[in-house]
């Protein structure tokens, strides 16, 4: 992660909140915030305030949605009426539905769903305050909440966006940059598997810019990843160089399969 040099060359141009082009907003993650949930996490990413809670694996209701040979991951992204300005209706929107779907796709590759036939893992996301990039922040919280629930994972899922604003490719757009910018590319990434599991984009960019944004977002995800691990360590005193994906160790609260460092380095 030798980004310091790159950044110094762009000194004069500044972002709305003074960040460098490839600087994340401040992130704090706390685990175990919902006592009733099997696992939970609270994230602040910029001014986003988001709670993720996990229930499961548990029996699926309604049963017809269960699968005979594998578990189902069900994410529900939901915004509090007071999370945005102006107030929004509490009824779920089409946008909420779509984000729930792509979040599910972003997280499912990190789980061993084949271990839970006929069951469901429910991940509930409650957006308390929204500030641009809620879907990425939600995925970050969800991944930590799943780990907090003791659900074995191939890897944590880290998520963050890059985009184009005022002709520059920048990392982790805030609300203002998102709305005034030219495009936004939210990414979710499994660092150890080196796989992108969420990828969306909206706006106007050349192919080169798009690829640059994807790569910048991946670097951002790697930083998020460290913060996620830190949050879990704080709770579990944890456990970094543990099992491998192939082993079944469901007793482990988290199952992080470290691959050789080189692979992670892109």
């Amino acid at each position: 992660m030798s980004k310091t040099k790159k950044k110094s060359s762009r000194k004069k141009w500044t972002r709305v909140d003074g960040r460098k082009v490839d600087e994340l907003r401040p992130i704090t993650i706390e685990t175990g915030v919902i006592p009733n949930a099997d696992g939970s996490a609270y994230i602040e990413m910029g001014r986003n305030k988001i709670v993720a809670g996990v229930y499961g694996p548990r029996e699926m209701h309604p049963k017809r949605l269960s699968k005979p040979n594998r578990g189902v991951l069900r994410c529900r992204y939901h915004m509090a009426s007071f999370s945005v300005d102006p107030r929004r209706s509490p009824a779920p929107s089409r946008r909420d539905s779509e984000i729930s779907m792509v979040m599910t796709d972003a997280i499912a590759p990190a789980l061993f769903l084949e271990r839970y036939p006929r069951s469901v893992i429910d991940v509930y996301i409650e957006i308390i305050q929204a500030d641009g990039g809620t879907r990425c922040a939600s995925i970050n919280a969800a991944a930590v909440a799943l780990a907090d629930a003791g659900i074995p994972m191939k890897d944590l899922v880290a998520s963050c966006a890059a985009g184009k604003y005022d002709k520059k490719i920048i990392l982790d757009l805030g609300d203002y940059e998102d709305k005034q910018g030219d495009s936004d590319v939210p990414i979710a990434y499994l660092p150890k598997l080196n796989e992108v599991t969420l990828l969306q984009m909206e706006g106007k960019m050349t192919q080169k810019e798009t690829e640059k944004a994807i790569e910048m977002a991946i670097e951002g995800c790697k930083q998020v990843y460290e913060i996620q691990k830190e949050a879990l360590k704080k709770k579990y005193g944890m456990v970094d160089e543990a099992a491998t994906a192939e082993e079944e160790t469901p007793e482990e609260p988290i199952e992080e399969e470290q691959k050789p460092e080189e692979e992670n380095k892109k």
Partner: protein
């Protein structure tokens, strides 16, 4: 059926302990759990309160807007209290439109505020019959461990006391947003106290377990002058007049304690 037996055993146990003048968690019969209220912590809401009452965890958001008055009160602003039981808050809660319990919660909190004339709605009119202020009080339950009415009532008052709403003005028959904000002037400080009957004993601030086995409950909303603004009895048993009087006395006593916490950050 097994569930049923569990519930009956739980009831027996809780009742036995209460008979000794104590609660399962060591509290006195008329003792609240610790109540913490944090206000004004949401940037996109005009007012907000985060309430923790034991493990019950609720967020109250106050939002203001402009809209049509009701047909029968053309010169009055509109206040609406709504409640959302997020699925993250309890393993048995499911996503969907408000259920009966959620509707009751919102209506009981609403009734206390409305009857006490906390907000002088006749001062919230912009253009008679056309445009008035809308005040939304949204109750958002993040973790359920009993006594949501009292938690939400206190949180709603804390949020209303600290809210600053944008000021609109009417220019040539058009409503315009100014850059000013103003505090709401509150006409009273009603607080709801719920007294629960288990067997022949009366307790306050029931936990989720206690609510599961209760026989009846009476919620009494009392303002700072001791005026009673609302009562709501629920549960499939009756109360004698003497019991009702005891409940009112308990509520009057407890209301000061809870009000002090709710208004601490006023």
């Amino acid at each position: 059926m097994s569930n049923n037996i569990v519930s009956r055993l739980k009831r027996k146990k809780i009742q036995e302990v209460i008979a000794t003048g104590k609660r399962m968690d060591g509290r006195e019969l008329l003792e609240f759990r610790e109540l913490e209220i944090k206000t004004n912590f949401l940037a996109k809401a005009e007012g907000s309160a985060e309430v923790r009452l034991g493990k019950s965890h609720v967020i109250v958001g106050v939002k203001a807007g402009v809209g049509h008055p009701f047909d029968d009160t053309p010169d009055k602003g509109v206040m609406m209290v709504s409640s959302e039981f997020t699925p993250v808050a309890h393993p048995t809660w499911e996503p969907g439109p408000p259920n009966e319990a959620s509707i009751e919660l919102a209506r009981v909190v609403d009734r206390g505020i409305r009857a006490a004339e906390v907000i002088d709605m006749s001062k919230m009119c912009l253009i008679s019959g056309e445009k008035v202020y809308l005040i939304f009080v949204d109750l958002y339950v993040l973790n359920y461990d009993g006594n949501l009415i009292d938690a939400c009532s206190a949180g709603a008052m804390a949020a209303l006391n600290t809210a600053e709403i944008p000021v609109y003005k009417v220019t040539k028959g058009k409503v315009e947003l100014t850059d000013k904000t103003k505090k709401l002037k509150l006409g009273a400080q009603p607080i709801a106290i719920t007294v629960v009957k288990i067997g022949n004993d009366l307790i306050v601030d029931p936990s989720a377990d206690e609510e599961e086995v209760l026989d009846g409950r009476i919620t009494i909303t009392v303002d700072e002058k001791g005026t009673i603004n609302a009562i709501q009895k629920r549960g499939a048993v009756g109360f004698t007049v003497d019991e009702i009087k005891k409940c009112i006395n308990i509520a009057k006593e407890k209301t000061a304690e809870i009000r002090a916490i709710a208004l601490a950050s006023k």
